[in-house]
Amino acid sequence: MARVLVVDDATTVRMYYRDVLEEAGFTVEEAVNGFEGLEKAIEQSFDLLVVDVNMPKMDGYAFLRQGRAMPELRAVPALMISTESEPQDSARAYAAGANLYLVKPVQPQTLAEAARVMAGIAS
């Protein structure tokens, strides 16, 4: 089973991603901030990262930057999801190492399809 790490400080949002991604065939692991995300990534391996931007302790950008420099996470596709929709927001996400930038709220189908393709589990 493909494994996805969801990093978001909002409990409801994590629950939503979990629902959608489990439905899409993923095993979901959660982290409440970038820091916890990195810890999880050291312990376990993942096929996909779904990352929020604004989080306490360590934000999504910092998480991705650190991740891209770590053997465990450097090549893991990352989907960044945030509320901001200006062009510079996606550019900033890409600079930090994201592979795709989506704007909240993401429709279930959009998330499921993008996640399946990026994790390589779409048939």
């Binding site: 909002a10 409990t11 409801t12 949002v13 629950m15 939503y16 629902d19 982290a31 409440v32 970038g34 820091f35 916890e36 810890e39 604004n54 989080m55 302790k57 360590m58 950008y61 910092a62 991705l64 930057r65 650190q66 891209r68 420099a69 770590m70 996470l73 450097r74 090549a75 893991v76 596709p77 990352a78 945030s82 509320t83 929709s85 062009p87 996606s90 550019a91 900033r92 890409y94 600079a95 930090a96 190492g97 592979n99 795709l100 930038y101 989506l102 909240k104 709220p105 993401v106 429709q107 279930p108 189908q109 959009t110 399809e113 993008a114 393709v117 990026m118 994790a119 390589g120 779409a122």
Partner: protein, 870 residues
């Protein structure tokens, strides 16, 4: 799925609102960057999460608040008290909506209108003079309650509105609002532009015997000929209980009643249209009135006719045409409800998705990577491209596959190679996606908004200050937060009940052991049962402590609302008060704390209203201009002690004395014996404040008897100490928990009763010769203190015993409030833990008892309510 998600969202949203609200107060006190960040993140998270639900007004309002905070954080805007007011009011409104979401799973119907008003208010600070406020006056869908109004009222409102602004608002004061000193009717009465109002009962009044006049059950529905902002401003202190919406006069034209399909209406419609086309308004009105004389008055059509007759002379043609359409049945276009829902588009082939993701990879490579990211990012892009290959056109897949295979060169070279390959025969997804976005949101990743060609190697926002190195705080537990469970309170309560039952049931084992010894004479078996009992007892106690710990909450849960309350009230009263909160970590049972909430608000209000003086008066009295209100909590044995202390003017015992005398509460004789402290405590006496307007007295009194009865109902007590000129301190004592009560049983005239252990000070034997009569009351001396005696048998009206006066009286000294009283009983029996259940059924009216308890052997014990007996 949505519902579970919503159930998750509601507590999270409340938590975020709480963080933002308390952060705001913190920020107002001191300019604290951390507090600002906390608020910002809370609001931001709330905005993001709310987007998952169909709550657009909520999201928009929170967004506006966030925009304002962005300016504050950037230093472009100073946080004036008015702005804090605006933000807090908005958060209150959001809190109110969250309540609505919880109970009805949707926002109130007037949410959109409310939101517009708030957003406009917030925007005013944001862009100074820019008249973005135009959006406010844009009318909203009218609130649903208008439809419930009688036609005449609606027409009267219509007439009064003329062409000015109209606002429909409703105000549902919460039940306990009187305790906060609110007078909703007065507030409504003073509202601007009052045109028509209705007062509705939210629920039927209780029967007169149990009717509580201090529980506010009204709801006000009002139409004002005033601008929404003016009304909203008038209601700002009760914003969470009111909803305000701008409406158009047409919104008042409501039709009610059953449809009447008579042909006669069709004829009328044709005729009416002709009148209108010829602008023959009098003819139209006459035709409507003529038809009204023929048809019954109850139908929807008749209702429309009355409106036509009313509107014909003055109204614009549009509403008239609509009404005519309603009568004739042929609705003109526009009234039909657009029911086209959000159909789910057929799943797009993943090829499209894959192409979008590939386009994103091209965009990724077009943006310069942050330091240290480049190498890893290329690896990730390669992974992603590779995973997209199965979904794209075969030719494109093989070309990309070759590019992935041909490695070599540095990162820059590889980036270039990949970008070229991606661009080579890319499908024009970005554009298509953008075009499709509005109609097929479900399949278009929002990535499409990325500009097609980001500048080569151009550094993006390199100087931005927001990209900071991570700052993990090593001092905090870095292993992630403590895992928490959110549990419905009902479940814990049920568990608590079982624990309490177990505690009682286990007492049965002790009886059983005794009976075994008596009946079978087997001491061995009896002892074994006792040993078993000891084991179960230990487990039950552990269980009880555990479950009680779950229900324990820090008093901060109750205290947290006070910074805001104190701030609002002092601003309103023009006083300057610092609130000092102490011991907020003290824990107590949730139910106990909840019972404390309203009395506490009341006491704090009293302190601010009557206790603490205005800055001028304080200065004149040689005190600092700023008053201090101290709210503190601490645990003492099995009680939690809450104190509300102010350094205000204090209560004059002589003023209280005179008032109590005048109102006949005490006799001159009693008054002569009372200490100043006893005198000031008379403010708690029922009936003290009802005789006269309390504000006459430089103290307090409004409903302090209500406070006392609420606290006593929860098994606690309240008293007060005061020094004239120096301040007043109200002390509330409450049991830590209400679930299991330790009692001692006493015997009187052959009957057993329970007395709560907490109130028992000691038990003594008193000889009849030691009992003295002072003023028709028996007393005895206990270590230099005179203790009044109460004969329980007399108080309970039990039959007189025939036997002679015993050599010694068994006296139980109990504490009632702060007084000690001796209770004469026949004897003491045992101590035990029981659950005291309130009296119900036949016993409900019984005075003198606080409840019943089931004993281990199945008997029912009445538990005495001592204050009733003394």
């Amino acid at each position: 799925m949505k519902n579970a998600l919503l159930a998750q969202f509601i507590p999270e949203a409340r938590e975020l609102l709480e963080i933002a609200g308390s952060g705001m107060l913190q920020l107002e006190k001191s300019n604290d960057a951390d507090a600002l960040n906390d608020i910002f993140r809370a609001v931001h998270t709330l905005k993001g999460t709310s987007g998952l639900f169909d709550v657009a007004p909520l999201t928009t309002l929170v967004h506006a608040a966030e925009d304002l905070l962005v300016e504050v954080r950037a230093g472009a805007l100073t946080l004036e008290p008015e702005i804090v007011d605006g933000l807090l009011d908005s958060l209150d409104l959001v809190g109110h909506w969250i309540d609505a979401l919880e109970s009805r799973e949707q926002l109130p119907p007037d949410a959109d209108g409310m939101m517009k008003g708030r957003v406009a208010a917030l925007r005013r600070w944001l862009d100074g003079s820019t008249p973005k406020g135009a959006a406010v006056t844009e009318p909203q869908p009218a609130p649903a309650w208008i439809a419930g109004w009688p036609e005449e009222d609606l027409r009267a409102a219509y007439r009064a509105a003329a062409d000015g602004p109209l606002t429909a608002w409703s105000y549902e004061p919460d039940e306990a609002c009187f305790f906060r000193g609110d007078d909703p009717a007065h507030l409504v009465s003073g509202a601007p532009g009052l045109v028509r109002l209705r007062v509705v009962l939210r629920q039927p009044f209780a029967p007169l015997e149990t009717f509580d006049p201090f529980l506010c059950l009204l709801r006000f529905e009002v139409i004002s000929a005033a601008a929404t902002e003016v009304v909203a401003d008038h209601l700002r202190y009760v914003a969470d209980q009111a909803s305000v919406a701008a409406i158009r006069s047409e919104d008042l034209i409501g039709l009610a009643g059953p449809q009447d399909a008579s042909e006669i209406f069709g004829d009328f419609a044709a005729q009416a249209r002709r009148h209108l086309a010829a602008d023959d308004r009098n003819g139209l009105a006459a035709a409507a009135e003529a038809l009204l004389r023929i048809v019954g008055p109850d139908s929807r059509q008749a209702c429309a006719l009355r409106w036509i007759a009313f509107l014909a002379p003055s109204a614009a043609p549009d509403p008239l045409l609509r009404l005519i359409g309603e009568i004739g049945g042929d609705c003109p276009a526009g009234t039909a409800v657009n029911q086209e829902g959000s159909e789910i588009a057929p799943a797009a082939p993943l090829r499209h998705v894959a192409e979008q993701i590939l386009a994103a990879q091209a965009a990724v490579l077009g943006v310069a990577a942050d330091d240290g990211v480049a190498e890893g990012r290329i690896a990730a892009v390669r992974t992603v491209i590779d995973r997209c290959l199965p979904h794209v056109a075969p030719a494109r897949a093989s070309r990309l596959s070759q590019t992935l295979a041909s490695r070599g060169g540095d990162d820059a070279a590889e980036t270039r190679r990949l970008r070229e390959a991606l661009a080579a025969d890319a499908e024009p997804v970005a554009l298509t996606a953008q075009d499709r976005a509005p109609s097929v949101p479900a399949t278009a990743p929002s990535e499409a908004r990325l500009p097609a060609g980001a500048p080569d190697g151009g550094s993006v926002d390199a100087g931005s200050t927001e990209i900071k190195a991570p700052e993990p705080k090593p001092t905090e537990e870095s292993r992630g937060p403590v895992r928490m469970l959110r549990v419905e309170q009902g479940k814990v309560d049920a568990l608590m009940n079982f624990v309490a039952e177990l505690t009682v049931a286990k007492n049965g084992l002790a009886y059983l052991a005794e009976r075994v010894e008596q009946v079978s004479g087997s001491r061995q078996l009896g002892r074994e049962i006792k040993e078993q009992y000891a084991v179960i007892d230990r487990i039950a106690q552990g269980l009880q402590v555990g479950v009680m710990a779950i229900r324990m909450m820090p008093v901060s849960q109750v205290f947290q609302r006070f910074p805001r309350l104190v701030r609002d009230i002092t601003r309103k009263l023009g006083k300057d008060v610092t609130l000092v909160i102490q011991g907020e970590d003290t824990e107590a049972d949730k139910n106990v704390l909840e019972s404390l909430a309203d009395p506490l608000i009341h006491m704090v209000r009293n302190s601010l209203d009557h206790g603490i003086e205005t800055p001028e008066a304080r200065r004149a009295a040689g005190k600092p201009a700023q008053g201090t209100l101290r709210l503190s909590a601490r645990q003492e044995n099995d009680n939690v002690i809450i104190e509300v202390a102010d350094d205000g003017g204090g209560i004059d015992p002589q003023a209280v004395r005179e008032k109590a005398l005048r109102s006949g509460l005490i006799t001159a004789e009693q008054a002569a014996q009372m200490s100043p402290e006893e005198l000031v405590n008379l403010v708690f006496a029922a009936g003290f404040s009802t005789r006269e307007q309390v504000s006459d007295l430089s103290g307090r009194g409004v409903g302090m008897d209500v406070v006392r009865s609420a606290v006593r109902k929860a098994g606690g007590d309240v008293w007060l100490s005061s020094r004239v000129g120096a301040g007043t301190c109200v002390t509330v004592q409450l049991p830590l928990t209400m679930a299991v009560t330790r009692i001692v049983t006493i015997a009187v005239r052959g009957q057993q009763f329970g007395v709560v252990m907490d109130s028992v000070v000691e038990t003594v034997k008193v000889r009849p010769s030691q009992i003295h009569r002072i003023k028709q009351r028996e007393t005895f001396i206990l270590r230099d203190a005179v203790i009044p005696l109460v004969r329980l048998a007399d108080s309970l009206g039990l039959p007189v015993a025939g036997d002679a006066v015993p050599e010694e009286e068994a006296v139980m000294v109990v504490r009632v409030g702060r007084e000690r009283v001796g209770i004469v009983v026949d004897g003491f029996r045992e101590r035990m833990e029981v659950i005291v259940r309130p009296l119900d059924g036949l016993l409900a009216g019984l005075s003198g008892f606080s409840g019943t308890a089931l004993l281990g052997d199945g008997r029912v014990l009445l538990v005495l309510n001592l204050p009733d007996l003394i």
